[in-house]
């Protein structure tokens, strides 16, 4: 990425994903930030506090007393017409849960970053995706980034999508806690911030204004509630095409092109491994190694979790005999315990794609997932054959568990 097909000057910097979030939030000129510290997200708000203190960003930072209040405060600010931001992880995201649904129900274009982390108990501050998967049904558009560059670009894209009058839904941009939040990578950031601002123009919308009074958040009975919630269904559906358009806009404006489903060596593959987040880089290396051993294997990355990219996934898996889905969270007691695998199976069934889907759960509570782990999962799948699918979920790397 030394030469950029980009119409503007971009500066190469070295940042972790937390700081990449902060740079993007600064560049889109956010007005109100409400924050509460939680590991591993804290770097985001520390950097933003520094930017405000140094006059690099003109925003109000509300130092709230909880994540519940953080989300509530930016709901109030967004309802007033401000561009808003918050960041959290794990217990903080859980504490917000009630308000997550209210934010989307009130159709407010909030943007939040989540440095994903395990959920207590036992308390564990390290990475998995239990927090993010727990908020799946809260009607937030959800991106999962895999590099600091993508984090920066996706925060900008998130505002483009959220504030679109056809969408008006809140957006989460998630990335691996620690693996990404605290790992430094080179990336490009835009030199001239007015250019980024031109990508996310201020738009008028319904807001709290004494000159034009509105009632927001009223009580709705059985006679209208369903229709109002159905509008959210439609908005989420419509958001998909708008995200695809904005993917192209980001590509044209910044020279980096994103797809809701990214693939690697998929064209002649018989088996592919699908995962999400920062471990995708390790997966690509293991695919190279497996290819060197003569296996026809490919990799798939899910970048967009909500709305789920049904057609893109279907296209990606065409021609495969087996798809291995490596999940990073557990749905306890489910038929298939990996939340993404569950969704993938439902999608492929719906589309009539007859391939085997094998689900692994890995990396829980910050257990590292290396190239060697992906290779191991691949080899075990070959060895177990049909049984791998029938097991529902294979818990990779747990002491005392064996499937052979």
């Amino acid at each position: 990425m030394e030469t950029l097909e980009s119409p503007i000057r971009q500066v190469r910097v070295v940042l972790n994903s937390n700081y990449a979030v902060a740079y993007a939030v600064r560049d889109v000129d956010v007005d109100v930030i409400a924050t509460y510290p939680i590991t591993p997200q804290t770097g985001v708000v520390e950097k933003l506090a520094e930017m405000i203190a140094e006059g690099e960003l003109d925003a109000e930072m509300i130092h709230v007393e909880s994540e519940h209040s953080a989300l509530s405060a930016i709901i109030g600010a967004s309802a007033t017409g401000a561009r808003v931001f918050t960041a959290t992880a794990s217990q903080g995201l859980e504490f917000m849960h009630e308000v997550l649904h209210i934010a989307s129900g009130m159709r407010l274009p909030l943007v939040m970053s989540v440095a994903t982390r395990a959920i207590s108990a036992p308390i564990n501050i390290w990475c998995d995706y239990s927090d993010l998967m727990n908020v799946r049904d809260s009607s937030w558009i959800t991106f999962i980034a895999s590099t600091a560059q993508e984090v920066y670009d996706t925060i900008i894209e998130a505002y483009m999508v959220a504030e679109d009058p056809r969408v008006l839904l809140p957006v989460i941009v998630a990335y691996d806690g620690f693996w990404m939040s605290h790992t430094y990578e080179p990336l490009y950031v835009v030199d001239d911030r007015s250019y980024v601002r031109s990508l996310v123009p201020r738009r008028d919308r319904v807001k709290l204004d004494p000159l034009k009074p509105v009632t927001m958040g009223s009580i709705v009975g059985p006679d209208w509630f369903y229709e109002i919630k159905y509008q959210q269904v439609e908005a989420m559906k419509e958001a998909y095409d708008i995200i695809r358009d904005r993917d192209r806009d980001v590509g044209k404006a910044l020279g980096r092109w994103y797809e809701p489903v990214e693939t690697y060596n998929i064209d002649d593959a018989e088996i592919a491994i699908l995962t999400y987040g920062g471990i995708y880089g390790s997966l690509l290396e293991s695919v190279d190694k497996l290819r060197a051993k003569g296996y026809r294997v490919g990799a798939i990355r899910l970048r967009l979790w909500r709305p789920f990219p049904v057609n893109e996934l279907y296209k990606a898996v065409k021609g495969l005999s087996t798809l291995i889905v490596v999940d990073r969270a557990i749905s306890y007691g489910a038929s298939v315990a990996g939340p993404v695998a569950l969704e993938v199976i439902a999608t492929l069934h719906r589309m009539g794609a007859g391939l085997d889907v094998v689900n692994y759960v890995a990396g829980i509570g910050g257990r590292p997932i290396t190239e060697r782990d992906f290779e191991g999962m691949f080899e075990l799948t070959l060895k177990l054959s049909r049984k791998a699918r029938e097991l529902g979920t294979l818990y990779w790397g747990v002491r005392g568990v064996s499937y052979e």
């Binding site: 007033t80 009074p213 009580i219």
Partner: protein
């Protein structure tokens, strides 16, 4: 912000910003609070309403009783939502996206459940951060919206559906939480208690709360015919008796200066207040005297703070 001068009802604007047709119970004095509040605030106001009686009774979709911008988010977070609105107006004015000369007032309206209990944390956060928001607590001393359950505000020995007066347990076993003292301990510019039966005193306090530079808190006793079990015509009478028995004291604290605004030269026994209300029905003489002793102690404490006998002796 200049303060609205209110010496009598004629000083209140005739304009009604609280539209008729709401669904509050017959005789509910929360409607009285809202009507007066909006007369004092005027149109240039945003209301943040916590979940509660007023919220559900005034905004049944697709109707609304509010002629000013109004927002409800949830039960425990009205102060946090108001903090966000305050921050938003400030930064938008700075960036030229809102006219800075407009001085829009931000008012939270919440019940006792949303303030004493579930909303205490977000309230404390808002006060500590010093947002320019007036927080109005309409206190009907229980979770009336869900059907009369005990709150931290429910007085000693009061019946509620979760604190029955039975053979073993005798209503609420604890005394009312001193919420206004807790708020005052945050050292905010203005804190006051008020009572719907003393509307001019209440309206003056609302006006002062709006005028100070920083957070203010107005705690209003709001008799509830449904939950307190009294005839709907007695709301104001009960409010008056609360003052006359010193079950309730109207006071204010401006920049730390404490003042009792409704003096009671001759105090009535609490039984006059209690016997009008079904929620205290079935209490024994001893239990009533126990409540009286708590009131006597509180009167003594207040007189000591003021340095003179603003609440007089028990005479009837």
């Amino acid at each position: 912000m200049s303060e609205l001068r209110i010496r009598g009802v004629r000083d209140l604007p005739r304009e009604e910003l609280f539209a008729p047709g709401h669904g509050l119970c017959a005789g509910c004095t929360a409607g009285t609070v809202v009507r007066h509040l909006l007369k004092v605030t005027g149109r240039n106001t945003v209301i943040v309403n916590a979940t509660g009686c007023v919220e559900v009774s005034t905004t049944m979709y697709p109707y609304t009783s509010w002629r000013v911008p109004w927002i409800h988010v949830a039960f425990e977070n009205a102060a946090a939502v108001a903090s966000g609105i305050d921050a938003a107006f400030r930064v938008l004015a700075r960036k030229g996206l809102v006219d800075p000369s407009r001085e829009i007032k931000i008012v939270v309206l919440a019940g006792d459940g949303g303030t004493y209990d579930i909303g205490l944390q977000s309230l404390s956060g808002m006060l500590e951060r010093g947002h320019k928001v007036m927080y109005v607590l309409y206190d009907n001393e229980a979770y009336m919206n869900t059907g009369i359950q005990r709150s931290g505000s429910t007085p000693l020995h009061s019946w509620t559906t979760t604190t029955p007066i039975g053979k073993v347990l005798r209503g609420k076993l604890q005394v009312k939480k001193p919420i206004t003292d807790i708020v005052a301990a945050h050292r905010i510019p203005y804190v006051a208690t008020a009572n719907i039966a003393y509307p001019i005193d209440m309206d003056q306090k609302l006006a002062r709360g709006l005028a100070v530079d920083g957070p203010s808190f107005i705690h209003i006793l709001q008799p509830c015919p449904t939950g307190w079990r009294f005839d709907p015509r007695y709301g104001i009478k009960i409010g008056k008796l609360a003052i006359e028995t010193a079950m309730w004291v109207n006071w204010e604290m401006m920049e730390g200066d404490f003042r009792v605004t409704t003096r009671v030269p001759r105090r009535k026994h609490v039984k006059h207040y209690l016997t009008l209300q079904g929620r205290f029905k079935g209490l024994t003489e001893e239990e009533i005297e126990e409540i009286q002793r708590h009131v006597d102690m509180e009167v003594e404490r207040i007189n000591r703070i003021v340095g003179e006998e603003v609440i007089g002796p028990l005479v009837e």
